[in-house]
Symmetry: none
Subunit: 218 residues, 2 copies
């Protein structure tokens, strides 16, 4: 099992601190709000009211002993930057940051964090795909950057065969199976001659980047 | 193409209004903030400064002609409820709501909305699974007769390439990814030239019969 540091316990930080603990890992969390710390205290390894921009405070709490950190200080962009820099000083190399704007994301990429998430935007893109009738019905992570998802057929793929579309080469994803909604049949490992219908859904697997790309096709 | 109504243009509402437009649909959006409306105006079908809790205002803007609506009024839970009720009065049956807490979600379920999203929480759960590097799988059923499993390399496959072995054709399974145990790297959708090592494990997908057969190979 691993040890994680979570900075900032808004909805996102709180949920991830809880979830990592449920998954059997140790979580140390800090936040400026005593009520939040009191609420989460019993649920995780350790929680403290503290300013995460302060290097010595982080070190005292064991911030230098963790495998990875999550930074989610909400609207306070400066705090998120200072917290990332403090974590770098403690030699924490795996840092995930919840950002609140594209520019915030760009700053974090410049700082070399492992990954940024932008929940409002990421979820909006996912819901948009769904409500146009192209659903990402299931999403299953398989490893650090590899997952499976179920998706509807992009309009431009309807009536074409898998071979014609050259999906694996073009998008770097594998089609595991086709679910024919009308007959409720599964076609496992479909071959290149399978012709896609708009009533099909696909189970596809690949890296998150590849899966994001494929969700954007019309 | 479809027509959508978006109520509230925070990060989520703004992103979904933009994205639905990119996907070729019509979007009518309302918000209380004139600056936001000015910014999105040129990008979508129609944008207006308006209070979405007012039925007549929504009707005047064409709210009764849309296929579906998205409600994302942020912290104002009461506004979100009144907006949903107004949309119901306009006979809009497909309504998606961005909620800011579990209780907010429960209210929306009671109101019978199509779906709620809770971006901070949904994204946190997704990231948690990722950063534990958890492959959830030893064996994962995806449908009534379709599953994924993780397996070691049969001795007879070591040092052969995927192409040489003709695995898909011979065994009717798909190799989703190779997990190189020594480097802890995942190789998604490996190509035919990938040469198998005895320290690899494979994530394979197929019917249960196919997976059973493959487990018996030496
Ligand atoms: N320097 C800091 N050190 C520790 N915690 C901080 C610091 N700055 C801000 N925080 C904490 O980060 C949290 C951010 O939560 P807030 O609800 O503002 O934003 P958020 O990340 O947008 O939340 P959500 O995940 O709900 O969208 C607050 O609880 C705040 O106390
Ligand atoms: N009654 C209403 N009618 C129309 N718009 C409203 C109404 N009430 C609130 N809004 C709008 O909803 C938007 C909500 O955005 P805000 O940034 O507060 O929250 P949010 O949904 O949490 O944002 P984000 O998606 O960035 O997390 C605001 O721009 C506000 O003007």
């Amino acid at each position: 099992n691993k040890r994680f540091f979570v900075v900032g316990l808004g909805n996102f930080g709180y949920a991830i601190a809880e979830r990592l603990t449920e998954l059997g890992h140790e979580v140390i969390a800090v936040d400026l709000d005593p009520e939040t710390i009191d609420r989460i205290g019993p649920l995780i390894t350790r929680a403290a009211v503290a300013d995460a921009t302060d290097l010595e405070t982080l070190r005292k709490l064991g911030g230098d002993t963790v495998d990875a950190a999550v930074v989610s200080t909400g609207d306070d962009i400066t705090a998120s930057i200072l917290a990332v820099l403090a974590l770098h000083d403690l030699k924490i190399r795996e840092i995930y940051v919840k950002v609140i704007s594209r520019d915030h994301g760009r700053v974090m990429e410049k700082l070399g964090v492992s990954e940024t998430v932008f929940p409002e935007r990421d979820t909006a893109l996912g819901l948009a795909a769904k409500i146009c009738g192209r659903s990402l019905l299931k999403y299953l992570p398989l490893g650090t950057n590899f997952s499976i998802q179920e998706m509807g057929i992009p309009n431009s793929w309807v009536s074409k065969t898998i071979g014609e579309l050259g999906i694996r080469q073009a998008y770097d994803i594998t089609i595991l199976a086709i679910h024919d909604i009308l007959t409720d049949k599964f076609y496992a490992t479909p071959g290149p001659d399978y012709r896609l219908k708009d009533s099909d859904t696909l189970f596809v697997a690949g890296t998150d980047q590849a899966l994001k790309r494929i969700a954007l096709i019309d």
